[in-house]
């Protein structure tokens, strides 16, 4: 029977029209620019029903009793069929929808619009996926019958095949002429997939039909109609998949047998008008409905010649079709259809078995399955099973011959390899790399294809500009070189280009091609080397000069590479993750330098749930770091080889669609450098984005409480200071400033935490906190704090702890075994101590600012001074804690240590004068003790002077008491070395008091009264006795003191009869005015020795007096006494 062309009917007004069949094929539905949908029962139907769906309808489809139209209102609307009442909006766009299609099961809808986007919508659920990538209105869309891919054609001339899961395109080819709008396009470029298996995709390209093969997306073959003038605009596969119809803009319709690739039949539109819609009859597959641009509707009958199909099948279907015809108007239309079909199907399994390869069975089968799906609540769809379902269940066993295949969770699509801090390849202008060195941008427009390299620091290198004819897609940048890579492009193999601009010879550039069939996927630059990862699961290492080095095999497809110094980190797919998640493995290697080794081999890389890796790199200090698509930043903790979350950029974004595009991070200062992208995942090249800095925050609990804040600060500082240790182990120079800074921060936080724990009566916790302290000094302070706040139990514990620490330290020193293992918190403490400073003054020098040390003139003074200052510190500490705010004071502790030292003038002036004294002179035991005590006050005074906060006058009573408890508490925990120093200190202070020096009023008084005091309080030790004496001395009335001062002077005068009285007078004068300046003219007159003496005394006096707070009075008095004597 030849092709039968029925008379065309006028359906719509002029313009774009579309046509589809109702599922059973009994109705033809058309839509047009008049905004009506017409339902034709047949071509003889003179009065088709019509449903108004809007101002203009561009496309129509029908499934499961719902009718979908794409209307002028930028939406896809659903209507019930046949009633035609509105049934909701499926999806919306920002511009008119140009084409859409339904999946075969009718559950998914794919639409493309003039706003360049595609949407893949789940009709039942509300899920939808958007696909961006076209640069012009979308012409046509098609869903893969297997729901893996979608295809789209656009006015930008491209055909794109997208992966649904990835939402990114797999293939993009430029095929058709470009235009700016659908109405201007010469072709509608209606794509179609081969039904059921989707093995082929038909694409109308000018005067040919290109057939693309699935997965490889290579051109399988082309079909070219003869003698046609216009472009092919529409293609449609027959439901069986063996035939295809194509329609031309000049009105030609051709029917093809795809298997033999020949044109079976052809016909032409009567008026030669362009065909814009075409649909196969879904049931019998032997009828085609089509519409033209004038709004006419036509039908072709007997499309497929009888010799090409088995008639039996058709007969069966004719019967069933007849059956439907009778019931077509019935209200239970669908039920009838269902039942009829089921009966049909149930009646003919044998039939099916017989005829293997013919037009119908597959289709039919499909449809039965589909009905099951629809009507059986088993599949979880919302439709309730009615009587149709019961029929279904009865016939189930017989009618489903194929075993249902088990469908486990679908494997998550593997994350594609990427370059950190690069924007997607398909953009016309994009960032190829943005790191701490510079920016590489790539422009890929029609008339220009180039790469720009710009350095942040222009002193590294001037900006560079490369031509990009060879389509480099990957790049990296270091302070030595620019690395570019391209994938295989036609016959050109994958290439690697390195512009080694730091080279000292004239050959800056080298190129390497990879073996055929191997593609570069990732690349990175280190210092002196570079690495590329290929799809053959190899990581190839090159030297920066172009020499080939090791090849490493990696266990899975590479995801990302990053290099820094001599470290290389590789992230790869280690397997299939739990559903929806990636399973990434990570390797960290030391590949440059002498010691090559593997630091992390094949561990899993943690990412947030359902997230992918978004950035991989190193901090500026060289610690590996990752950022995932949820914005979580993680840093490698080298001591545990685990990852710690140090920031979540999502906490900083104002809206959900904002992202932070990380470009780098620094550990000191703590900076996360990123670019804020509003409403996008990556930044555009223009306007030029600017970097912003985000803070880090370790996600600890209770971050709104003081405790939480401090703990967070401590652990953050801890996590971000690991690099110092690592740097030291790698032989890098350590920036002592920053190290001291971080140490100080940590100690400060610990002290705060300790104080907080004490304040909240958490003694056990306080002792735990103390275990984190790295220095004995800190523990000492903690003990003092505890004892002062009457927590003797805690103080006791801490004392034990301090002893333990000391023992460990001693043991460590004795054995000198650097690699000795300690457990728990101590390991940290002791190792850092040992590595950071080799001096015996580890505890002190750790807390000292290096500048201070540098400012010291005399190294030999250091010990003594430090000791004194420590003593002073401790005293000061006692005092501070007495006033109202204990926690505030103790918080200040570490800064107190530093403050006076920074103030170089004051600190160095006073103590150094003491140390310059003749070390060989010996003093009497009394004066020794006295001077020691006074030296304590000296430095204390010095500190109190500096510390504006501490009250100048303090009650001496509590102070002394505390001093006692404190000395007993930590007296026994001084390390031998410290004791040694104590001794040396004593010696030093002894030396400060030469025998001949005139005793102060106090010391004179002391010598006189010591015996009686000792008698009064026999239980006291000598040092305690002195303290008591000091106290008593202070309580003496001023007049008495004056007397004592005068007596002291007199005693001196009598002792040193040979000394010039003038000198004494001058001495007193200087005392009075406490001036170095005043001393200066005096220098020439006196001998060296006496000058020293003078200085020492001035000091002792001046400070003594200022503490007592009756300084001027007493010193004036003594001076007057001296004067009087002289006159005598």
């Amino acid at each position: 029977m030849p092709l039968n062309k029925q008379e065309m009917r006028m359906g719509h007004s002029e313009g774009q029209t579309d046509v589809c069949y109702e599922e059973t094929g009994n109705h033809i539905l058309t839509c047009g620019s008049d905004g009506d949908v017409r339902i034709w029962k047949s071509m003889d139907d003179d009065d088709p029903e019509s449903i108004n769906v809007g101002d203009a309808a561009y496309a129509i489809a029908m499934k499961n009793n719902r009718l979908y139209t794409a209307s002028e209102a930028n939406t896809i609307q659903a209507h019930t069929f046949p009633e035609g009442s509105a049934d909701g909006i499926v999806t919306r766009f920002t511009a008119p929808v140009t084409h859409f299609c339904l999946s075969e099961d009718g559950e998914k809808l794919l639409a493309g619009a003039s706003d360049f986007t595609l949407k893949y919508v789940d009709i039942e659920g509300s899920n939808q996926k958007s696909f961006h990538g076209h640069n012009a209105p979308v012409l046509s869309v098609a869903i893969d019958p297997k729901h893996e891919y979608i295809a789209s054609s656009s006015c930008d001339g491209t055909l794109k095949i997208w992966s649904i899961a990835d939402q990114s395109w797999e293939k993009s080819v430029s095929l058709i002429p470009k235009c700016s709008d659908v109405s201007l396009s010469k072709t509608l470029c209606r794509l179609s997939w081969k039904p059921q298996v989707g093995k082929f995709l038909a694409v109308p390209v000018e005067k040919e039909i290109h057939i693309y093969e699935r997965d490889s997306w290579d051109l399988a073959f082309t079909l070219t109609p003869q003698d046609v003038t216009g472009f092919i605009s529409v293609t449609a596969w027959s439901p069986c998949g063996h035939f295809m119809a194509s329609a031309n803009t000049d009105g030609h319709i051709c029917i093809w047998d795809v298997n033999t690739r020949e044109c079976i039949d052809r016909t032409k539109h009567n008026k030669g008008l362009a065909i814009c819609g075409m649909a196969w009859h879904p049931a019998n597959g032997n009828e085609i409905a089509y519409t033209d641009v004038m709004g006419q509707v036509g039908v072709l009958d007997n499309v497929i010649p009888p010799d090409r199909k088995t008639t039996t099948q058709v007969q069966v279907f004719k019967q069933s079709a007849d059956l439907f015809d009778d019931d077509a108007v019935d209200e239970d239309f669908l039920d009838a259809v269902t039942q009829a079909e089921v009966e049909n199907a149930a009646g003919k399994p044998t039939n099916e078995g017989e005829d293997g390869d013919d037009v119908m069975p597959a289709t039919q089968h499909k449809r039965i399955m589909q009905i099951q799906d629809d009507d059986n609540s088993m599949d979880g769809s919302s439709r309730a099973g009615d009587d149709g379902a019961s029929v279904m269940s009865g016939t189930m066993d017989t009618m489903v011959p194929q075993p249902t295949t088990y469908e486990g969770p679908k494997p998550t699509p593997l994350q594609k390899p990427f370059i950190p801090a690069a924007t997607p390849v398909h953009l016309a202008s994009r960032f190829m790399k943005w790191n701490s060195i510079g920016i590489i941008r790539c422009y890929d427009t029609e008339d220009e294809s180039s790469i720009d390299v710009e350095f942040h620091d222009t002193s590294v290198h001037h900006a560079m500009h490369f031509d990009n004819q060879l389509n480099r897609t990957m790049a990296d940048l270091s302070a030595e070189a620019v690395l570019l890579g391209s994938e295989t492009n036609g016959d050109v193999p994958s290439q690697l280009v390195c512009y080694h601009f730091a080279s000292w010879d004239n050959q800056k550039e080298w190129t390497t091609s990879l073996p055929k069939g191997e593609n570069i996927k990732c690349l990175t630059l280190g210092r002196g080397w570079l690495a590329v990862a290929t799809d053959k699961r190899l990581v190839r290492l090159f030297s920066i000069g172009g020499m080939q080095r090791e090849i490493l095999a990696i266990p899975g497809p590479v995801v990302c590479l990053a290099g820094h110094g001599n470290q290389l980190i590789i992230v790869y797919h280690a397997g299939t993750g739990v559903p929806g998640e990636q399973c990434l493995g990570v390797q960290l290697l030391h590949i440059g330098g002498k010691r090559k080794r593997c630091v992390v081999s094949g561990d899993r890389l943690p990412v947030s749930p359902k997230a992918t890796l978004a950035w991989l790199g190193f901090s500026a200090e060289g610690t590996p770091c990752t950022v995932d698509s949820e914005g979580v930043v993680r840093l490698l903790n080298r001591s545990l080889l685990s990852w710690i979350q140090i920031s979540n950029t999502k906490n900083h974004s104002k809206s959900r669609s904002d992202h932070f595009w990380v470009v780098g991070l620094n550990e000191s200062p703590q900076q996360l450098r990123c670019i804020q992208c509003k409403g996008a995942a990556f930044p555009p090249t223009l306007p030029r984005p600017s970097i912003m800095v985000l803070p880090f925050q370790v996600p600890l609990c209770d971050l709104d409480t003081e405790k939480g804040i401090m703990e967070e600060a401590y652990w953050r500082a801890d996590a971000l200071s690991k690099h110092i240790e690592y740097g030291a182990s790698q032989g890098y120079e350590i920036d002592e400033m920053s190290q001291a800074q971080t140490d100080r921060e940590k100690q400060e936080n610990i002290m705060k935490l300790f104080a907080l724990a004490c304040r909240t009566d958490r003694e056990y916790r306080a002792s735990e906190i103390c275990q984190l302290m790295t220095s004995q000094h800190a523990v000492t302070l903690a003990i003092k704090y505890a004892s002062r706040s009457r927590r003797m139990a805690l103080a006791e514990r801490l004392n034990q702890l301090a002893q333990q620490m000391m023992e460990e330290e001693m043991a460590a020193m004795e054995t000198e075994q650097e690699e000795e293992e300690h457990d728990g918190y101590y390991s940290n403490a002791t190792t850092t101590k040992r590595s950071s400073s080799s001096t015996e003054w580890s505890t002190l020098s750790r807390s000292k600012a290096p500048t201070h040390q540098a400012s010291r003139q005399d190294d030999e003074d250091d010990n003594e001074e430090a000791q004194e200052e420590e003593v002073a510190m401790e005293d000061d500490e006692c005092d501070d804690d007495d006033d109202g705010m204990p926690e505030m004071k103790s918080r200040k502790v570490p800064t107190i240590l530093i403050k006076p030292k920074k103030d170089g003038v004051i600190t160095s002036a006073l103590p150094s004068s003491q140390t310059r004294k003749n070390p060989f002179k010996r003093s009497s035991s009394e004066s020794q003790v006295a001077s020691k005590g006074s030296s304590v006050f000296d430095s204390m005074k010095k500190l109190t002077k500096l510390k504006a906060k501490s009250p100048p006058e303090k009650p001496s009573e509590p102070k002394q008491k505390k001093g006692k408890t404190q000395s007993t508490l930590f007296g026994n925990m001084k390390s031998p070395r410290q004791k040694e120093k104590d001794e040396s200190n004593k010696e030093g202070t002894e030396q400060t008091m030469p025998v001949n020096k005139p005793p102060s009023a106090f010391s004179y008084w002391l010598t006189e009264n010591q015996a009686s005091l000792a008698e009064e309080t026999p239980e006291l030790s000598e040092s305690d006795l002195i303290k008591l004496a000091t106290q008593k001395w202070r309580s003496l009335p001023a007049e008495e003191k004056k007397d004592w001062g005068a007596k002291a002077k007199r005693s001196v005068q009598s002792l040193e009869a040979d000394t010039d009285p003038k000198e004494n007078a001058a001495q007193e004068t200087t005392e009075l005015t406490e001036g170095k300046k005043r001393k200066l003219p005096h220098d020439g007159e006196v001998t060296q020795g006496s000058e020293k003496r003078v200085k020492g005394q001035i000091k002792v006096k001046g400070q003594d007096s200022s503490i007592v707070k009756r300084p001027l009075l007493s010193s004036t008095n003594s001076k007057l006494a001296g004067f009087a004597f002289k006159k005598d």
Binding site: S436, G438, F455, H456, D457, T458, S459, R688, S690, I691
Partner: protein
């Protein structure tokens, strides 16, 4: 006061620049600046920004208010209101002048920005002249004007104060000179 002096004062303003060099912190009388990290935004005074820009050592990030939309809104606000509206920046004219003459390439839509700022300036100057006119005509003794920028005040100050002085002497003269005349 000279406009250049006003400009000098305006140069204290802090702007953000992205330097293309690295340098330690700079200690200046007015405060410490830096440290400079190549590629990382840093806040510097306007004078330094302009200086660095002239030596091609940095890119200047336009201040937040120097945005076409914000300026359009401001302009509309200024048009709609009979009195002076708070300005976007107290030295908007000076900053715009400096940035647009030295760092045109760093400011998106520089032309539009310039036009808008000029419009706002003109609107405000018109208001100012109007109020001065009203002030003089009504022979008021005092008036209050809010939200004027230094530069705007500076444009009328020398003339207005002098003119008022003159008018005052003239008026006094008529009063004192008229007295004997009427007595005659």
């Amino acid at each position: 006061m000279d406009p250049s002096e006003v400009e000098f004062l305006a140069e204290k303003q802090i702007v953000t620049v992205v330097p293309n060099f690295s340098h330690d912190e700079v200690f200046l009388i007015g405060g410490n600046i830096g440290p400079f990290n190549a590629g990382l935004p840093v806040e510097v005074p306007l004078w330094m920004a302009v200086n660095l820009k002239q030596r091609q050592k940095c890119r200047i990030q336009p201040p937040e208010w120097m945005d076409v939309e914000k300026l359009q809104a401001k302009k509309q606000e200024e048009i709609d209101s009979p009195i002076f509206q708070p300005t976007l920046n107290e030295n908007y004219m000076e900053v715009t002048k400096l940035l647009l003459s030295h760092a045109t390439d760093d400011i998106p839509h520089a032309d539009e920005v310039y036009t808008l700022i000029k419009d706002i300036w003109d609107l405000r100057m018109a208001k100012l002249r109007q109020s001065v006119d009203k002030f003089v005509k009504d022979q008021e003794t005092h008036a209050r004007l809010d939200n004027l920028s230094l530069m705007e005040i500076n444009t009328v100050r020398p003339f207005l104060t002098q003119a008022l002085d003159h008018m005052h002497t003239l008026r006094m003269n008529t009063v004192t000179g008229g007295q004997p005349y009427t007595q005659e």
